[in-house]
Amino acid sequence: MSHADVQATGPGMRRRSAWRRLARHSGFVVGAAIVACVVAAAVVSLFWTPYPIDVVDVRGRFAGPSAAHWLGTDQLGRDVVSMLMSGAVTSLTVGAVAVGIGAGIGVPLGSLAAARPGLVSEAVLRLGDLTLAFPAIVTAVMITSLWGPGAVNAILAIAIFNVPVFARLTRGTALTVWTLDYIQAARAAGFGPVRIMARHVFPNVAGIIIVQATIQFALAILAEAGLSYLGLGAQPPAASWGRMLNEAQTLLYFAPQLAIYPGVAIVLSVLGLNLLGDGLRDVLDPRLRGR
């Protein structure tokens, strides 16, 4: 078999069988379906929502579910379905960008630490310890007290907490890969650390990083909801599930339903992402199945 044949059949076959296993994994399928719905709702809301979310209709407030308003209206007469759809945009954007930044900085740092044991590695680890001492909410409190609230602050606070998570994971996983024979072979062939990292180490740690990113994404959505609930996150006119809950809190006796919908949206999104992540992990790392 020629080299070209191996490339054409080997990894491709493996990829196809991984997809087949994912398609048979009930948790993954349910999770993927939920996440697809949330993403679809968010994307559609960018072009169309049943009603505009920035138009107040005081006469039509606190309406119950009807054909016109599937989940009724809120204290300002805004359509709850439209608010939930727009809220999905905030949650997904803040979560994705925060985790993207966290992984974007954390993965190279972790790779560096794995490739350069000793002082560099120690520095990255200690920096990680320090960063983990700053929960997102504490960072958000500091940023907001200086520059005021906003979605960007929430992103920054969540991203900072994510950096060491990815740095540690990447370092830990890459360290074991660096000891393998084919890395020695690549070294003997005269390849530099950057090329070895990019071509041989990274593809082997990518799966675990993707799984972790899914789980961190879910955590980031929770964190965003918490920050928005406290008024430290996205500001009006942008809709946000956390702020919807905050507004609903004062109306618990009067309109309890308004406190239910955004919470369900958060739980479903987080649950969907976690099921998706668990499914990916089961397929990519069968040793952890059922844990």
Partner: protein, 318 residues
Amino acid sequence: MLSVAVRRLAGLLATLVVASLVVFTVMDVLPGDPAQVMLGTEAREDTLAALRTRLGLDRPAPERYVTWVAGLATGNLGVSYTYDEPVAGLIAERLVVTLPLAVFAILLSTAIALPVGVFAAVRRGTPVDTVVMGLGQLGVAVPNFWFAMLLVLLFAVQLRWASAGGFPGWSAGLLPAVGALLLPAIALALPQAAILARITRSSTLDVLGEDYVRTAWAKGLSRRAVLGRHVFRNALIGPVTIMGLQFAFLLSGTIIIENVFFLPGLGRLVFQAVAQRDLIVVKDVVVILVAAVVIVNFLVDLAYAAIDPRLRVRDVPR
């Protein structure tokens, strides 16, 4: 053992110093003129000048840092700008709410999670196990402040068994005070317990598969002796690790939950301070929260050593 302890203690101190430097830099140096941030752009020049003197901004930053840290060590945290009261007193007043709430929640979640997790592991594959695993998934996904609102909705709005929030103070007696913390503690503890039970289950399953457990069964030890002496103690390592990491989440949760139940704790204090741009209070509360996370993680490291004798001689693997 001693040298490891000394090294870890030195690490703890170093982390605390660097963390305080970070907080100081972000809150005191980065804004340029903290007095301007606190008073806004409309402030009169003489008011600004007075606040600058009060904040010590006429002195160089390193000197301000040393004064601040020395104050932290001696309990002199400065005077709040909005309350015009010593920050140490403000924080002490709030801590008597936040601390008992956090401890209450930890105890509650541990008391629920450990037995449930071990039980699910021993009964692996049965409906009990499936329910524990399912609740674990749900526990990760439910934001605790929303869970808190649902509890208020059920117990205060619908059933009218509890008040929707507020705190009578410890002077009102133990029972009313603990009663006011009960719903908040449950709101914090249950989602936490669901996660912890899952970890305990997984950790117990690992230990159940170990050779020494098989040996313990084989030599005819009773079920109680095997599970109690050999399994449970070793299975604790997993949950203890997670409890350390979860502390940061619990602390965040506590200061969020205080807002749901209108409890006069650290969370309320810091959010009011943020709204009023009282940077003096924000800086002090933030550094205390960060120190709490660092110190708890240090204690968890020590707890490993107590549970797992192998770790007494070497550092905890990261």
